[in-house]
Each structure stands twice: as structure tokens, then as C-alpha cells.
């Protein structure tokens, strides 16, 4: 079976999705979703253990060999992303049960899980495939299901947000498909490895830079790079809590992966950075993203929205690492991919718990929660410390590598700005903590600690935040390996 892992990874959830939709039982469809995500985790781990050593798995779908059929191609880079997606899903799905029961109308729950699984499928598919058009297909699968998931939010505005996301997402996808089309026209292939071999011959044409431009903008939209992030805050804010936790921790990460794959594998680092000088665009935008959206986050009153803006800032860190175009920088970016998934997942889950009990995630609703929901708020504090980059949390590891990469590139001012970003995180995180712990609680609202079913997944992520912050051997090893593959360095 392990030979077929790449395809089974995608196929199992793909089959599970309609089943979940057909079974109109809340519990069963949830169980199916759990099963699908846990399977994905199992498969992801299997893939990663195989490629950790440097092996590359190439799997021909349906037995058609590479240039003609669709190739699933797994190396350390995407095995890493797959693991992130699967891991978050396998924690978020158990968490979703209680949260969804509270936030989604019961007759839609099985549809919800169906969309959930589809979204997972799409994200896994994007990551696993070696075929650029296949990327687009899975992108649409994940995006459409995400729109659906978001629109299920309680708030009226969830619908408009989902709509907006849909428009913007579709434009992004369209741009990507335009880019892919242009490349296909010029090279006649859709396979990534083929493309990377054939593209150099046609680099001087106008079509390729245009394709590159379309792809850049498309990816930027999907990964919410400043200033194309505007769809994100509302989508995250008004989506059901579990959806926010899941999507925030995965969707943008996969978009970053797509960008990396295209820039480094398909076009090649030399073309993207030396010829197209995309770093000249990415670096400033990343820095502005870090500073500007952190500042916006500071001013937010809704904590989910606050965290959403924080996500945009954190994406800035990842892109910053990418834009350094060095092994160190990429390592930092890839590490943050993983680490940010852990921390933002934990934070949004904590907010889900608050939503579950209090019914609001506005800052003033947090008053006194430190005492009433000690475990939830403690989790929030740890997640927050991680965002800030306090040592012994994963956030610190990311920052350590990112700053080191910036310094190695001689960009000490960039390193300093990264620190400034951390400090802004202190402010927005501490606004919440302060209210939760230092403001007196309103009397007699009967708020109690969140149910265990939500707390356990939440604390699994929190524990991961600390574990991978203290023992970052695995994550740094894989991230470094992936970065080396992307940069074409063999160690």
C-alpha cells in the first residue's frame, strides 16, 4: 500500500466527502471526517519518513508515465506541507464537533463535513501533485469548498464575506490558470519537471514574464500577500470557528507552497530572483505586511479579526524568508509555515472555545475569562507568546532562523524590523490577555470552561507549540532539507 500512498492520500478523502454528505447523521459524518483527516496524517507521515532522507517519490497516476499522465511527485518540500495540512486537519476535525454543533444549523452539518473533507482533499491535492494544471483543479476544489464553509458562519456577514472571498479567490485562480496556460502554450507541457526543463529555452519570450507576472499576482492573492489580503480578515472573522482555525492554519500555507514550487522548481530560483528579481517586490511587500497589518491588528476590537490581520503579518514573515532567496531564508520561511500553523491554529481554537461559551469574541467579552475559562485562556496565552516569539515556543524558532537569515544576507535593518513586528505582536496579544486576566468578570453570566472535546485538541496544538519550540530538531531538519531542494543545493 505504501507505494500508492501519494494517491491514496487524496483519494481516500475524496471518496469520504460524498459519503459524509449522504449520511445525514451529524455524528457519523463527523466520524468520517475524522477518519479522513487521520488517514491523511498517517499517509503524510509515511510520505515524509520516506522522503526525509532525500528520496523523491514519483507516482504516475493511473499508470500513465510522467509527461503524458499526471504525476504525483513528493519530495521533502511538499511532504512537509502535506504533513502540516494533515496534522492541523486531524486536530481541527475532532475539535469541530462541539463547535460546529453550536455554530452551524444542524441540518447542514453533514454538508459541512463534506465540504470540510473536500477542502482537505483540495489542499492535499495541491501539495502532492506534480502537474500544474492538476494544481489548478485542486485549488478550485479547496477554494470552492472553503467558500461554502465560510458562508455557513452564524453572522449575516459571513455570506458577503464568502462572496467576496469567492470573487477574489476566483480571480486569483484565474490568474494562475492564465499563467499556466501561457506556459503550456510556450512549452506544451504541464508537468512541473518537464516545464522546468523546457522553460529556459523560451525564457526570452514576452509570454513567460507575463505568465510569471500572472502567477505572482495569483499566488499573492491566494496567500493574502499585502495589499491583496483584503478578502482575508472578513472571511476569517465570520467563518465558523472551526473553519477559521482550519483554514487559517492551512490554506495560506498551501498557497505559499504553490508559490515556492513555481518559483523555485518550475521557473528556477535563478530565473525568478536573478532575472525577474521578484525579491524586489516581495521583500518590501513582506515588510509592509508585517508592519502595517500588525498595526491594524492592534486596533481591532474583534479578536478573530485581530488574529486574521496577525495572520497577514505572519505571512509577511514567510514571504520575507522566501524573498531572501537563500537556504537560510527558505528554511526560515518553511519553518514558519509549520510553526505559524501551530500557533494560529491554537489561537483560533481558543477563540472558538470562547465563542462556544460566551457567544462573542470581542475584546470586551473577554473580561474575567482568565478565571472562568482558565485552560482556554492559558492556551491563548501560550499561543500568543508563540506569536510574539518568546523562547521555548515555536515562534521563537522561526524568528531565530529568520533573523539569522536576514543578518547573513547583510540586511540588519530587516532583522530589526522583524523584531519590531514581534513587539507589535506583544501589543495586540497583550490587549487580550490584559482584559482576560485583569478586568473584573461580569457577574453571574454562568460562563464555564469549554468542553473537554474542544480543550483537548486545543491543548494538543498548544503542546505542539511548546514541544517544537523546545525540540526543533525534526522541524529544522526537514525545513532545511526542503530549502536545499528548492535552492537546488545538495548536501
Amino acid at each position: 500500500m505504501s507505494d500508492h500512498l501519494p494517491v491514496l492520500l487524496v483519494v481516500v478523502p475524496l471518496i469520504a466527502a460524498p459519503i459524509a454528505a449522504l449520511i445525514r447523521s451529524v455524528r457519523l459524518s463527523w466520524l468520517i471526517a475524522c477518519g479522513a483527516s487521520w488517514w491523511a496524517l498517517y499517509a503524510a507521515w509515511g510520505l515524509l519518513s520516506r522522503v526525509r532522507g532525500g528520496e523523491v517519490i514519483s507516482y504516475a497516476l493511473g499508470g500513465w508515465p510522467a509527461p503524458y499522465g499526471i504525476e504525483y511527485r513528493v519530495d521533502a518540500v511538499n511532504a512537509w506541507v502535506i504533513l502540516i495540512v494533515a496534522a492541523i486537519a486531524s486536530v481541527a476535525t475532532p475539535y469541530a464537533y462541539q463547535s460546529v454543533r453550536r455554530e452551524v444549523e444542524s441540518d447542514r452539518v453533514s454538508l459541512f463535513y463534506s465540504a470540510w473533507i473536500l477542502c482537505l482533499t483540495g489542499l492535499l491535492g495541491i501539495s502532492v501533485t506534480g502537474d500544474v494544471f492538476n494544481v489548478f483543479v485542486f485549488l478550485e476544489i479547496s477554494s470552492l469548498s472553503a467558500y461554502a464553509l465560510i458562508s455557513l458562519g452564524q453572522d449575516r456577514r459571513a455570506l458577503t464575506s464568502a462572496y467576496q472571498y469567492l470573487i477574489m479567490g476566483s480571480i486569483g485562480a484565474t490568474f494562475i490558470v492564465i499563467g499556466i496556460g501561457l506556459m503550456y502554450i510556450m512549452t506544451g507541457t504541464l508537468n512541473m519537471m518537464d516545464l522546468s526543463e523546457r522553460l529556459p529555452a523560451v525564457m526570452d519570450t514576452r509570454a513567460i514574464p507575463v505568465a510569471f507576472a500572472f502567477l505572482t499576482v495569483g499566488f499573492s492573492l491566494k496567500l493574502a500577500l499585502f495589499p491583496l489580503h483584503l478578502w482575508l480578515p472578513n472571511a476569517y472573522t465570520f467563518a465558523p470557528s472551526a473553519v477559521t482555525a482550519f483554514i487559517a492554519a492551512t490554506a495560506t500555507k498551501v498557497a505559499v507552497y504553490m508559490m515556492l514550487r513555481f518559483f523555485f522548481t518550475v521557473f528556477g530560483a535563478a530565473f525568478a530572483f536573478d532575472v525577474m528579481q521578484v525579491d524586489l517586490i516581495l521583500l518590501p511587500l513582506a515588510l509592509v505586511a508585517i508592519l502595517s497589518t500588525s498595526l491594524v491588528a492592534i486596533h481591532q476590537q474583534n479578536v478573530k479579526r485581530l488574529l486574521a490581520y496577525s495572520s497577514v503579518a505572519q505571512i509577511g514573515y514567510m514571504i520575507l524568508g522566501v524573498s531572501l532567496a537563500s537556504v537560510a531564508g527558505l528554511t526560515a520561511g518553511l519553518l514558519h509555515l509549520f510553526n505559524h500553523a501551530l500557533m494560529k491554529g491554537a489561537l483560533f481554537m481558543a477563540m472558538g472555545c470562547v465563542m462556544y461559551r460566551v457567544g462573542s469574541v470581542r475584546i470586551d467579552a473577554m473580561a474575567g475569562l482568565g478565571k472562568k475559562m482558565p485552560w482556554t485562556m492559558a492556551a491563548f496565552v501560550v499561543g500568543g507568546l508563540s506569536i510574539i516569539g518568546v523562547p521555548l515556543t515555536v515562534g521563537f524558532i522561526s524568528k531565530w532562523y529568520l533573523v539569522q537569515a536576514a543578518l547573513a544576507a547583510g540586511l540588519w535593518w530587516v532583522a530589526a524590523l522583524v523584531m519590531v513586528g514581534s513587539l507589535m505582536a506583544v501589543i495586540y496579544i497583550w490587549r487580550v490577555v490584559e482584559v482576560a486576566y485583569l478586568s473584573p468578570a461580569p457577574d453571574g453570566d454562568g460562563v464555564a470552561e469549554a468542553p473537554l472535546a474542544m480543550l483537548i485538541p486545543l491543548w494538543v496544538l498548544v503542546a505542539a507549540n511548546v514541544y517544537f519550540g523546545v525540540n526543533a530538531g525534526l522541524t529544522t531538519e526537514v525545513a532545511t532539507r526542503a530549502a536545499e531542494i528548492l535552492m537546488g543545493v545538495t548536501s
Binding site: L385, I388, G389, V390, P391, L392, I397, K399, W400, Y401, V403, Q404, L407, A408, W412, A415, A416, M419, V420, S422, L423, V426, W430, E434, Y437, L438, P440, G469, V470, N471, A472, G473, T476, E477
Partner: protein, 488 residues
């Protein structure tokens, strides 16, 4: 017990004690006996490390490799043992004091208080024994965070603002400067492990090294070098035992300890002496010494005055490090201990006055000495140590710091130390002398039942005041440790 066990226990025991405190929250006597017993045992254990330090044996224990080349590790060296000795001695004493204070003052949330108190000590132990910059930084930040609930103990608007300043400055400086410096050091040297004599020499251009030193000195916000000192007076809203902990034992000493450690183990005295920026930093510390003293003059609130006095005194130690010679380091290291005992006595006394007479303002303490002779007498002795005159321990550190300034050829800095003594003399002694020899303020309607503070408070004050004098007669292990530190 093997040395490794001791240092592991040093970090873990307080945390275990914290857990036990939490568990025993409903039985106050039992709850408070835990830290006292643990602290006493801890002190005994750490004292046993003296032999390890004397033997010169290298003890390093790596807990875990966090990222390749950087591990969470502890080691034993003289400076750390000194800091740990001070902290572990004063922890049970402060706890004893806190027992009297918190009950006498009818404070709420005492269990939480004692819990975080114990954790803070664990973090301080971690700082003391950390074997590399990463570990040091980690415990440094843990210490910042777990003292936050102590600072904001009263949960008032005032406490909240103070907490903002506290956390704001400490986190800002540590992240923006210190962490940057640490990563930078790692980037240029490829290691962050403490090595006697430093590891930065020859790894980077002088410009970078100068910048690094500046980042380190200002990045250690806990050392309160101006202009990053504001957190310290702000944190005065906390209950007095916390102020004692912050200003004498754990927090500020972790700061100056870091500065000394960086000087000896990251830069090395030779390199420090060559850097162009070192004298400038010494003068910055000197300016802090003087300005801190002058501001202390203007404060009528006793704790605020003590806070500025602390700011001033901490820069003695920073100055000692920036002198970049053996005398300066000996003086700075000894001052960690001497200032700790002196200043904690002063804070204890200030708290005792609050508990017994409910007075915070110096101008309202006139005439109180007759009813609280013990407390004000101890205040007098503590003041002598801070001023640096016999018969109090502060004289020794001042002697060595003075030797250091002359070794560095800086007569001006020697003058600063001496002027600071005179300033300290006036702003500190005013308190007990007014209390003893001035009539009470005319409008004071002091209840007749004002007498000395509760017994545990007095015992604690007695212990620290006696220690202050004893350290003059024999500075004991502190001088020995510092000599071992600078003797190659």
C-alpha cells in the same frame, strides 16, 4: 548529590514547590511552609557547589538540542553560583516576610502569589546556571512573564498600567535588542555557548562588535540602564514582597547578572577593553547612577525612592562590567550580593511600615521611629550598605569598583561612585533619622495601637539586616567566587 543533579534541582525544585503551593492552597500554613523548606534545602544544595567551583571542574549538562548547534543547557561557573546563592538564600527569607506581610495586609489571591513567586525563583535559577545565551534568554523571558502576575497582583487600573510599562519595556528591550544581539552573535560566531574569555573575539568587524555590545547592554532591560529604567518604578504598585523580589533578588539581579555574564563569557574582558564603545557605556552607567540618585531625592513615596535608588545601584554593576578589568568584575559581582541584602532590607522595612502604620510617604513617617525602632534601625543598616560605608557589606563592592575605575584610568568614574555615595547618604538616611528624631506631622492622627509589624516580618528584616553587617565582616563566598571567576 552530583553537581548536575543540583543544578537541575535548582531549576526544578522551585517549580515543584510552586505546584505544591497551588495544591495546598487551602491550608495557608502548610502552603507557606513549602517554599521556606524548599528554599532552605536549595540554599544548602547550591552552597555545596562551592567545591565544584573551587576545583575548577567543568560541569555542563545539556537538556535538549533545540535547533542544531543550540541547546538548552546548564553549567556551573562562579558568577552563576553567586547569583544562585543570593537568590536561594533570600527566597525563603522573603517568603517568611511575605507570610507576615500578605496576612497583615489582608491581601487576596495569596496562593497565586506564592505560586508565581516560586516559579520566578526557578526562572532566576535557570538564568543563573544557563550555559549559553539561548538558555539565558529563555529563562530571562520566563522570568519576565511569570513576574507579571505578581506586579499586577492587585488587578486595579493602576496595576494594569504598571503591568503594561513593565512588560512593554522588558519585552521590547529583550526582543528588539537582546534577541537581535544573540542571533547576531550566533550568526557571526556560530555558537552561543558561554566560554570564559568570550567567543566573539575576531569573529566580526569592530563595528559589528561595538553594535553588539550596545545591543546587549540596552537589551538587558532588567539592568535598568537609562533610558530603559521606567519599568522599575512602575512595578512599585506590586505588594512589597514582590518589590523586594524584583528589586533585590530575582529580576534586577538577573539583568545585571546577564550583563556581567556577557562581559566575561561572550565578549571577554580583553575584547571589551578594545571596543571603542565600552567607555561610553561605562559613562552611560555613570549617568544612570547619578541621575537615578537625583531623581530619588525628589520622591516622597518611599518605595518610589527605593526604586530609583535601585536604578542607580544597578548601574554600579553595569559600570563594573564596562570597566573591562578584573577589579570591575569582582566589584560588580560582589555588588550583586551586597546590594541584594541591603536593598531587600530596605524594602522589607518599607513594607513593614505599610503593614504596621499604613504610611507610604516619607514626610508622613516622622516620629514613627519611636514606635517602630527595630524596623527603622534595620532601614538604617540597609542604607549604610547601599551608601557603601562600614559596617555594611556594600563597602567591599565599592572598594573593588573603585579599584576597577582606577585600573581603567577613569578618575572621573571614581568620582561618580563617591558622589553617588553622598547622594545616597542623604536620600536614604533621611527616612530613619526623620523617623527617630523629628516630631510627627501635626495633622497625623496615628492610632495609638501602631507598633512593630508582625513577627515573621521582623524576623525576616532581622535576618537580612544581620547578613548585611556580617557581609562586611566577612564577605564570605562572594569574594571568593568572584576571584575564582577572574583568575584564569
Amino acid at each position: 548529590m552530583s553537581p548536575v543533579t543540583v543544578i537541575l534541582a535548582a531549576v526544578l525544585l522551585p517549580v515543584l514547590a510552586a505546584g505544591l503551593v497551588l495544591f495546598l492552597g487551602r491550608w495557608p500554613n502548610l502552603r507557606e511552609a513549602v517554599p521556606i523548606a524548599t528554599g532552605t534545602a536549595l540554599f544548602a544544595m547550591i552552597y555545596s557547589l562551592m567545591d565544584v567551583v573551587r576545583s575548577g571542574e567543568v560541569v555542563r549538562y545539556s537538556l535538549i538540542e533545540v535547533v542544531p548547534g543550540v541547546d538548552l543547557a546548564l553549567h556551573i561557573e562562579p558568577l552563576g553560583v553567586l547569583f544562585a546563592l543570593v537568590a536561594s538564600f533570600l527566597w525563603p527569607v522573603t517568603t517568611l516576610y511575605a507570610v507576615g506581610y500578605m496576612r497583615g495586609h489582608h491581601e487576596e489571591n495569596q496562593t497565586r502569589f506564592f505560586t508565581f513567586f516560586a516559579i520566578s525563583i526557578g526562572a532566576a535559577m535557570g538564568v543563573a546556571f544557563s550555559a549559553n545565551l539561548f538558555t539565558l534568554f529563555a529563562f530571562y523571558e520566563v522570568l519576565t512573564l511569570c513576574t507579571f502576575p505578581l506586579v499586577t497582583h492587585h488587578q486595579t487600573e493602576e496595576a494594569r498600567n504598571a503591568g503594561r510599562i513593565y512588560l512593554g519595556i522588558l519585552l521590547t528591550t529583550s526582543i528588539a535588542f537582546q534577541l537581535l544581539a544573540i542571533i547576531w552573535a550566533w550568526q557571526v560566531a556560530g555558537t552561543v555557548d558561554f566560554v570564559r574569555g568570550g567567543f566573539l573575539e575576531g569573529t566580526a568587524s569592530p563595528l559589528v562588535l561595538n553594535v553588539l555590545l550596545v545591543l546587549f547592554v540596552f537589551g538587558v532591560g532588567k539592568a535598568a540602564v537609562m533610558p530603559f529604567h521606567r519599568w522599575l518604578p512602575a512595578a512599585m504598585v506590586a505588594p512589597t514582597p514582590v518589590s523586594a523580589l524584583l528589586h533585590a533578588v530575582a529580576v534586577v539581579k538577573a539583568g545585571v547578572f546577564t550583563v556581567l555574564k556577557v562581559a566575561v563569557y561572550v565578549f571577554g574582558l580583553d575584547l571589551m577593553g578594545e571596543l571603542a564603545v565600552t567607555p561610553w557605556l561605562a559613562w552611560t552607567a555613570a549617568a544612570t547612577i547619578l541621575i537615578g540618585s537625583l531623581v530619588a531625592f525628589t520622591k516622597d513615596n518611599l518605595k518610589a525612592r527605593l526604586a530609583y535608588s535601585t536604578i542607580s545601584q544597578l548601574s554600579y554593576i553595569v559600570l563594573g562590567a564596562m570597566l573591562a578589568n578584573a577589579y570591575g568584575i569582582i566589584g560588580g559581582g560582589m555588588h550583586i550580593a551586597m546590594h541584594a541584602f541591603g536593598k531587600i532590607t530596605l524594602f522589607f522595612a518599607a513594607g513593614a511600615i505599610m503593614v504596621a502604620a499604613h504610611e507610604k510617604k516619607i514626610s508622613r513617617m516622622h516620629g514613627l521611629g519611636r514606635t517602630m525602632p527595630f524596623t527603622f534601625g534595620a532601614f538604617f543598616i540597609g542604607s549604610l550598605s547601599i551608601i557603601g560605608v562600614p559596617p555594611a557589606g556594600g563597602s567591599w563592592s565599592k572598594w573593588y569598583l573603585g579599584m576597577g575605575t582606577m585600573e581603567a584610568g577613569q578618575v572621573g568614574l571614581l568620582a561618580v561612585l563617591m558622589v553617588s555615595s553622598l547622594l545616597g547618604l542623604v536620600y536614604l538616611l533621611e527616612v530613619p533619622i526623620r523617623a527617630f528624631f523629628s516630631p510627627p506631622p501635626p495633622d497625623s492622627r496615628r492610632p495609638d495601637d501602631v507598633h512593630e509589624a508582625p513577627l515573621p516580618v521582623l524576623i525576616a528584616i532581622g535576618i537580612t539586616a544581620t547578613a548585611t553587617v556580617a557581609l562586611f565582616v566577612n564577605p564570605g563566598p562572594f569574594h571568593e567566587l568572584m576571584t575564582l571567576l577572574v583568575t584564569p
